[in-house]
Symmetry: C2
Subunit: 282 residues, 2 copies
């Protein structure tokens, strides 16, 4: 197999030739943002929505990347040079405030951002749609701007790892007594035919797949309440599911010791999965 | 001037030859820890305390670096090869969970950590002891484990930059109505001759200079209350100062619009600075 070709600061080159500086602000300070996109049979999925979110993240952190609109073209170039144009996979974009000797304050305004993009074939996942997953709740110890898709993911990975080590496939965060979201996903509940999820706020990422689900619900006349689910109300719900770019839509069969519904992916979750498949096939 | 020599994964080499992988977990996830040490005339200052804190940070994040006890020897080697043995400066240590294709879960246990160490001459600072600095309060939006010296510093740098842009030299964080610490320092107040600072908890870093100050207070019979200072009580204090490895001990002359004391470094702060100088000279 040929070596993976990636994009780094204006060039397409083999992965092993990318040199991130030890002074990169992404490496020293988590001072950067990222996006993950899916492509199905080489076609980028909801790419403009990811691009808009990327721009918002950059703006919130005041990272200046004037060429940001070229990102999706770069991904398409990478699909071509890596011969992935008929493949399902993931594209990863990371942009940091650049390479500058370590100081807390922003580097000079003319410091170029570090831009890194890769694409890879990707199908399998630990959260497969064919089976529902277990989740464990954790106190949401993340910072106050979870709406920004920053690379400051340490609390996320620590909670996700902790969940894995306890036999679960996702960590669900509880803040002020309500479910905010998962360590890498948004969380939905279904009760009496109504779909609930946390409203957009600083406490959750505005997930692209979350929005796709909300749009499906609107189109299919499924009632939605953008209202946080109290931890104490979890047992009263009929279904739970998670959404994310990588896991798409996955049922949750158990939260902590509590079996959800009959322990299998619920009917509304399955319906949403089927509608999502139609979008992928378009 | 010769190029700076640094330590990277077992080797001493020129800075420009260090290649951090774009798959490094420090770059993707802020999955790492760091330390900053001072050296005065080539002598490491409170090095064993920094090493102990480094070990604690690694343990809290479950990062395995068996050779951690060699870190201070490595720094001394770097001082020698960089000809800094008679110089004042800073040593920087960063250890991440290593280089592994991006997944949220921990990489396999045999993945070696990434270890990067540099030393450099350093004297001047924006927070000099000769003058006191202004500070601005910000809502503490950081995550819940500020006791771990992790590289997930995005909230810190955003607040510090914001403070700088408003003419201040430090951001002071307020959580649940009390001062926790600064964006890169611990914060102390003095009232009626009593020194106050936030007790050790998950909300503050156990600062080495903070502990040096507490030890000086004990030795010199200055009364200390490890009790958080309420934001509403700031105006009742006579002095404020900050402590940190880089700024050492610096008076705070103003918090937001409020002048502290007579607007100059207060007498107890000056006394502590003098005692600190004696320790440096040892």
């Amino acid at each position: 197999m040929d070596e993976q070709l990636v994009f780094f600061n204006g060039q397409i080159l083999p992965l092993s030739q990318v040199r991130i500086s030890p002074d990169d602000r992404g490496f020293n300070f988590a001072d950067g943002v990222y996006e993950v996109l899916r492509f199905y049979k080489g076609q980028l999925f909801f790419a403009s929505q990811h691009l808009e979110r990327l721009k918002r993240s950059l703006a919130e952190l005041k990272i200046n990347y004037p060429e940001v609109n070229a990102v999706n073209n770069i991904i398409e170039n990478l699909l071509e040079v890596n011969n992935l144009q008929q493949t399902d996979g993931l594209a990863y974009i990371q942009i940091t405030r650049g390479d500058f000797p370590r100081i807390h304050q922003f580097p000079p305004a003319n410091t170029p951002p570090t831009v890194y993009i890769n694409v890879k074939e990707w199908k399998a996942f630990d959260l497969t749609k064919s089976q529902s997953i277990k989740a464990i709740t954790f106190s949401d110890m993340r910072w106050g701007r979870c709406d920004i898709k920053s690379i400051a993911l340490l609390p996320n990975i620590m909670s996700f790892q902790n969940a894995l080590e306890h036999g679960a496939g996702e960590a669900i965060f509880i803040r002020d007594g309500v479910i905010t979201e998962g360590s890498r996903t948004n969380i939905f509940g279904v009760k009496n035919g109504i779909v609930y999820t946390h409203p957009f706020s600083n406490s959750i990422l505005p997930g692209i797949t979350r929005q796709i689900v909300l749009d499906i619900c609107e189109k299919e006349n499924l009632k939605v309440l953008l209202f946080p689910i109290a931890e104490s109300a979890i047992s009263s719900f009929d279904e739970f599911f998670l959404t994310g770019t990588s896991p798409e839509i996955s049922g949750i069969c158990q939260i902590n010791a509590l079996k959800i519904g009959n322990g299998e992916t619920g009917p509304i979750t399955r319906f949403l999965q089927q509608e999502f498949e139609k979008l992928k096939a378009k």
